[in-house]
Symmetry: C2
Subunit: 205 residues, 2 copies
């Protein structure tokens, strides 16, 4: 990796920390450059404006988030052959992961972008859209596999159910911020898990 890329990454790391802690607007460029030990000119050498920074952060975030989900899926795959069990294990692991992350949760950036929509340009919104659609596809595929083996007890749209995973995390993050209680998000994921169980698991007596 060249020197330029290192500096770029450092700027992004510093910016991400600040944005997760305070929000995009509340994070000034001056503050970023101070913490990244660079000058304002240096910042604008790497990013043409603040939008470009947001765009780069979201793109990077999509990759990391995808890796996390790949990892969760792989670990669940090791533990069970059954797609329903794998989903239940995956959701448990996700809940644990959300509990372990000390302060800044992943996923926030997407919601921040979604909520301050008009603040960002087309590029940023499109990247955001791509991320959310990617997650939908991922979970939809998993739910389709489950539904093949276990007919759902209610008539649900599997795409909407797939969105429910993202929606639960995002909603949980909003609530945990509002209630100032980081445990909320994993709690909500565990409720989603309970729903998936009731929806697909065969009745046992």
């Amino acid at each position: 990796m060249s020197r330029g890329s290192e500096t770029r990454d450092r700027i992004m790391d510093v910016a991400q920390d600040a944005i997760l802690a305070k929000g995009f607007d509340a994070t000034s460029i001056e503050e970023i450059v101070a913490n990244a030990e660079i000058t304002k000119s240096g910042f604008f050498y790497h990013f043409k404006d603040k939008n470009a920074l947001a765009h780069a952060l979201i793109e990077r975030h999509i990759v990391i988030e995808d890796e996390i989900f790949d990892d969760l899926e792989a670990r669940a795959k090791e533990l069970s052959d059954d797609p329903l069990q794998r989903m239940l294990i995956g959701l448990k692991l996700l809940a644990e992961l959300l509990d372990d992350i000390p302060d800044g949760h992943p996923g926030c950036i997407v919601a921040t972008a979604a909520y301050q929509d008009r603040l960002f340009d087309k590029d940023v919104r499109e990247a955001n859209l791509r991320a959310v659609l990617g997650w939908r596809q991922r979970f939809k595929r998993q739910f389709e596999e489950i539904a093949k083996l276990y007919p759902p007890k209610e008539d649900v749209d599997l795409a909407a159910l797939a969105d429910m995973v993202s929606s639960t995390v995002e909603g949980g993050l909003v609530m945990s911020r509002a209630l100032n209680n980081p445990a909320i998000t994993s709690e909500q994921v565990m409720l989603l898990r309970s729903y998936v169980k009731l929806l697909f698991a065969p009745r046992m007596h």
Copy 2:
């Protein structure tokens, strides 16, 4: 109502429309005063700063939201005596309401405040917290009534379940913004309804 209150309300109406459409930061005071047909000095006569505006909007919002929920509960009560049926009816009505609202959804303001947390002062955050805790109490009470009659099929914390109502709406709003699809929110509420049904409804063959 005095002349002053009318102007104050007009400022708040104009501000709310703009904030729901573009976010708090993206809405400038200059823009608000132009649309409210008042001067900047007039604005600062009614609100000491932008924070005071946010605070007033959230306070007003809590009252309106409460009225909406009261109304939904009352309408559900007319249609059934059974607490579970009432909850299912209430959630259906909520989904319909979220579908009918053309563009700016209610509930946004709370999430906006939650997500741009550090932008607001203590007063605003406390008002926000009060709102969310109020909703938790409301739904918790309803779920407790249900659980008395219908033992839940999974061991769930009823407070967390109560939070799931708010969380679903907030998550749905984030997703609907990210996907640019207003139907998402009501979809998610209907999935929550399906969960409540599976969780409490007795098994019928």
